[in-house]
């Protein structure tokens, strides 16, 4: 009776049960969500690393490789024998005209003026014409540019009007001067750039409407000798139209003109017969100038001989290269030609024409240059001090020194601690090329983006680069490359690799295993097979369980105090006389390995104990019953049966050791080492240490390479764990 009244019944019962079950479902959902959060964390972690390890980068070279080659080639052009160099074109014309074996080159305009005295050669069978120049089938062409800035146009009305006038009338003049007019497309591009910068609200077609009459003020146009006659004509026409401002035209060459424009601030407009280089652009930016580039025409080079030359009307680019560089006779370039000495006539070093010729005719790829050439480039571009250091690391030639003084070098080699360069074979071409890239070209990642930004916000990235780093090249970069894995450590993220760190990790782990595996298994055998239930054995067991819970950093401090400091003679190798002279302390691979050995010892012991405990007792009895001693039974039967379990545990312990960071920081991993470890007494760094140090750097690119290094580490750990799982499965099948 009382029961019936005390419990809910009917709809009340139903309600009670429903509400209990509803509560149950709610909680179940909560449990599921909690579980999923862990998975989400893992996904976020992997996503984050991938996101950082791949993505767009903007790369900018300190020095363009092409300009390096250019300088070198010009040097060779000028120093080739039987070469007449002159800044005075008339002298060159006269020289070529009078010598049947002469060859030379001029701007096309200049050739036109003197076409009666010279013979024009076709290049690769094509003669320079308006058409062949515009569609660039004729190989030897260069664009002609004016450079100015928006500020100049906004502040200097005279310059503004001048440029407007220039663009309006250029095509009426340029062909007359001897250059080729820009295509409509290029010209309208130039006009757009000008309009955008001018501050004038102009529509196409309104160009001519601005009247230059009565405009006063002052402007200077500085630069290319090639463009000088064009500039002169425009200025004269303007003056005739009533332009009253003072126009200073200076004929100083493209390079000097851009210098005046970017660095000295003495030019409102720079005229150049080549594009601005990245170095010049950077110089401009440093002075808060953002150059606007306007192409106003195209120049072509004319390859000319004397009219008396009867044996050829055409040269190929390859023949040109030989003729102006190594050939002593015409026959050297082409066997069909006579065996007469070549007489070369080339413009002086300050002229843009020489640049133009060298740039278009000679290859610009650094990688294909000979080792000697590369060494020359290196010599011309790095300090002697750096060169000497590089030479002591590894010589450039076995038989001579490039940077170092022979006596000093010999002295350095005779010392107790000779430099590596004393014994190592000389660098090869590839090595010198890499060196040149690193030390001189020095490509610098100026900005990097995450994978997600690279994929989904590419337009914004491109716009950003176009305004901020117009000379930079935007490429997709995987920070994880084969080079990254095989390159040694470096202080520049672009060249840094993890080889040193991987080698360090492997060395350290080898020592760790060498130390902790036998001891760990030994301890486990003792505890499982020999130890009786005494106080000391119980203490050992409890102690091992406790050690497994000690924070890893404490092991680091133990390692610092014992291995690095107290046992320094042993761990530095001094005791064996094999210490690394540069460290002379105990912060070595050996110390690191032993420290990690102590750290994973309890892990190995506990795993091995479990594996040994799982070996069936009957096996031990069978062995003993045959008259085997205890050790014989353990060695022949218990250990082989327990081995898969022991190995599985050991591999897991190893992967723990490989991932450990804190104890190694405390033991004293080196911050920056470039040399692979070669003995237990070497200084060390490891993969996690490298990741830690890179993560701690503020620059974004270090985050990128840290992510790449993490991927390497995770792959390493994953394969270790996979092998542990395989082992476990094989074991499970057999048992």
């Amino acid at each position: 009776m009382s029961q019936q009244t005390s419990y809910p019944e009917g709809s009340a019962l139903k309600g009670q049960i429903t509400s209990r079950q509803r509560r149950g479902s709610a909680w179940q959902l909560a449990f599921q969500v909690s579980t999923i959060i862990g998975i989400i964390a893992l996904i976020a972690l992997l996503y984050n690393i991938t996101n950082q390890a791949f993505g767009l980068v903007a790369i900018q070279n300190k020095v363009e490789p092409s300009s390096l080659v250019l300088a070198l080639e010009e040097e060779r052009l000028l120093s080739a024998e039987n070469t007449v160099t002159s800044e005075d074109d008339n002298e060159l014309v006269a020289g070529i005209a009078s010598d049947a074996n002469a060859i030379g080159f001029f701007g096309y305009a200049y050739y036109q003026q003197n076409s009666d005295q010279l013979k024009l050669l076709t290049v690769d069978g094509i003669a320079p014409t308006a058409e062949s120049v515009q569609n660039e089938t004729y190989g030897l062409v260069r664009p002609l540019y004016l450079y100015t800035t928006a500020d100049v146009l906004a502040q200097n009305q005279a310059a503004n009007i001048f440029l407007n006038y220039y663009l309006t009338h250029i095509n009426e003049e340029i062909e007359d001067v001897g250059y080729f007019a820009t295509s409509d497309a290029q010209l309208s591009e130039a006009r757009a750039a000008w309009t955008a910068a001018s501050g004038l609200n102009l529509q196409p077609g309104q160009w001519a409407a601005i009247n230059p009459e009565g405009i006063t003020g002052q402007l200077s146009v500085v630069g290319s000798s090639t463009l000088f006659p064009v500039n002169e004509r425009i200025a004269e026409r303007l003056a005739a139209d009533g332009f009253a401002a003072t126009v200073n035209l200076a004929n100083v060459g493209s390079t000097a003109g851009l210098r005046a424009f970017c660095e000295e601030g003495t030019a409102d407009i720079a005229a150049a017969s080549r594009p601005i280089t990245s170095a010049e652009f950077e110089a401009c930016r440093e002075n808060d100038l953002r150059p606007i580039e306007i192409q106003i025409g195209t120049d072509a080079l004319a390859i000319v001989t004397s009219p008396e030359n009867s044996f050829t009307t055409n040269v190929t680019q390859q023949e040109l290269r030989t003729l102006f560089d190594t050939a002593t006779t015409w026959a050297d370039a082409n066997e069909a030609w006579p065996n007469n000495p070549v007489a070369r006539y080339i413009p002086g070093a300050d002229s843009g024409t020489l640049d133009f010729f060298a740039e278009t005719v000679f290859p610009k790829d650094l990688a294909n240059l000979s080792k000697e050439t590369l060494v020359e480039l290196l010599t011309a571009n790095i300090s002697v001090g750096l060169g000497r250091r590089l030479e002591r690391e590894q010589r450039f030639y076995d038989d001579r020194l490039v940077f170092d003084d022979p006596d000093l070098f010999a002295e350095a080699c005779a010392s107790d601690n000779p430099a590596a360069g004393c014994t190592m074979p000389a660098r090869d071409q590839e090595n010198v090329y890499e060196l040149l890239l690193q030390e001189v070209v020095a490509p610098d990642v100026v900005s990097a983006w995450s994978l997600m930004d690279s994929l989904f916000a590419r337009d914004e990235v491109e716009a950003f680069v176009a305004t901020e780093y117009p000379n930079a090249e935007l490429t997709f970069r995987s920070w994880l490359t084969l080079d990254f894995i095989t390159s040694p450590q470096s202080s520049t993220p672009e060249f840094a690799g993890v080889r040193t760190a991987i080698m360090g990790s492997l060395w350290v782990v080898a020592i760790t295993v060498f130390f902790s595996f036998p001891i760990g298994v030994g301890a486990a055998i003792y505890l499982e097979e020999y130890a009786s239930d005494t106080f000391i054995n119980r203490t050992i067991q409890t102690n091992i369980n406790n050690l497994a819970g000690v924070p890893s950093i404490i092991y680091g401090m133990l390692g610092l105090a014992i291995f690095v400091r107290t046992l320094e003679p042993l761990t530095s190798g001094a005791l064996f006389g094999v210490g690394d002279g540069t460290t002379a302390n105990g912060r070595t691979i050996l110390s690191a390995g032993l420290t990690l050995g102590l750290l994973i010892l309890p892990v190995i012991i506990i795993a091995a104990q479990e594996a040994i405990r799982a070996v069936p007792h009957s096996l031990r009895q069978a062995g003993m019953a045959l008259g085997a001693t205890k050790w014989q039974t353990i060695w022949a039967h218990v250990l082989p049966s327990a081995l898969p379990g022991i190995l599985t545990g050991t591999i897991l312990a190893i992967s723990r050791a490989i991932g450990e960071t804190a104890p190694l920081v405390v033991v004293g991993a080196s911050t920056l080492i470039f040399v692979d470890p070669n003995s237990p007494f070497s200084k060390f760094t490891t993969l996690p240490i490298q990741i830690y140090q890179w993560t701690a750097r503020p620059q974004a690119e270090f985050r990128n390479i840290a992510a790449a290094a993490i991927l390497v580490l995770l792959v390493l750990l994953l394969s270790l764990n996979a092998s542990a799982i395989l082992l476990r499965n094989r074991y499970a099948r057999r048992a």
Partner: protein, 264 residues
């Protein structure tokens, strides 16, 4: 204790227990067992579970040493030497007194290695192949395994595994073979083969066999010892005599009740 097995010559005495007690820690598992085992005969130990028959068997080759808390009082004389005396080497004892276990326990090695291992650790100098073959022949296993000596011992059937264990024991040339319920994990056909094998082996070895199967004892043994458990759960020897006599004319009432199936 009623023992009628006293009358054989000293030369035929394989091993003798005198007033033996076995303890596990404070617990006495076996009390006051005295018996003599005759050479080249099969002696069976029977009795209900927990009666200590296996414990007595394991005492004969000091296998009880493997249990940390086990302790044996009294004497076991092997050729006049007390095997529990301090200067006796248990390893040496086990080499001379081999053992076959309840469940077949071959090593996780090849068939060949299973047989050869014991010989090897005991520094056998002769031709190993020959020894393996003769041991396997004696264990009536040769014909079945001669073509797969390099296969794992686990690849054999249960009965074959047990014969492999016997071959392994024979290979070290023991005096005495202790068998602890060797057929309890096997099917009837395999059991019969083992029993036949044991009969063969008796020509060369002294055999003590523990069995919970009375028919087996009656069929296969020359002598039978019957053990029982008293009130404080200690095992003791009830009756020991020729097998025929024990089964046809038991002296003790308990024995009679046991063999007629009234308890156990």
């Amino acid at each position: 204790m009623t023992s009628t097995v006293t009358g054989f010559a000293n030369g035929n005495l394989a091993v003798e227990a005198r007033n033996m007690h076995v303890y596990y820690g404070p617990f006495r598992a076996v009390k006051d067992v005295s018996l003599k085992i005759k050479t080249h005969a099969i002696t069976a130990f029977i009795g209900p579970s927990g009666c200590g028959k296996s414990t007595v068997l394991r005492s004969f080759n000091r296998m009880n040493d493997l249990v940390a808390t086990a302790r044996v009082e009294g004497e076991i004389l092997y050729h006049g030497n007390n095997i529990y005396s301090n200067d006796v080497d248990p390893v040496e004892i086990r080499r001379r007194i081999g053992m076959v276990f309840q469940k077949p326990n071959p090593f996780p090695k090849t068939i060949y290695e299973n047989v050869a291992w014991g010989a090897r650790i005991n520094s056998y100098k002769g031709d190993m192949d020959e020894l393996v073959e003769s041991s396997l022949r004696q264990a009536a296993l040769w014909n079945e395994v001669k073509d797969k000596l390099q296969e794992s011992g686990y690849s054999l059937s249960g009965g074959q595994q047990q014969r492999l264990c016997i071959a392994r024991t024979i290979a070290v040339k023991p005096d005495i073979i202790l068998m602890d319920e060797p057929t309890s994990a096997l099917d009837p056909v395999a059991t019969l083969r083992i029993e036949e094998l044991i009969q063969e082996l008796k020509k060369n070895y002294t055999i003590i066999i523990v069995t919970h199967n009375m028919q087996q004892a009656a069929r296969a043994s020359d002598f039978t010892a019957f053990y029982n458990m008293d009130e404080d759960r200690a095992g003791y020897l009830v009756e020991y005599s020729g097998t025929n006599e024990l089964f046809t004319n038991p002296k003790n009432e308990l024995t009679e009740q046991y063999i007629t199936g009234r308890f156990g």
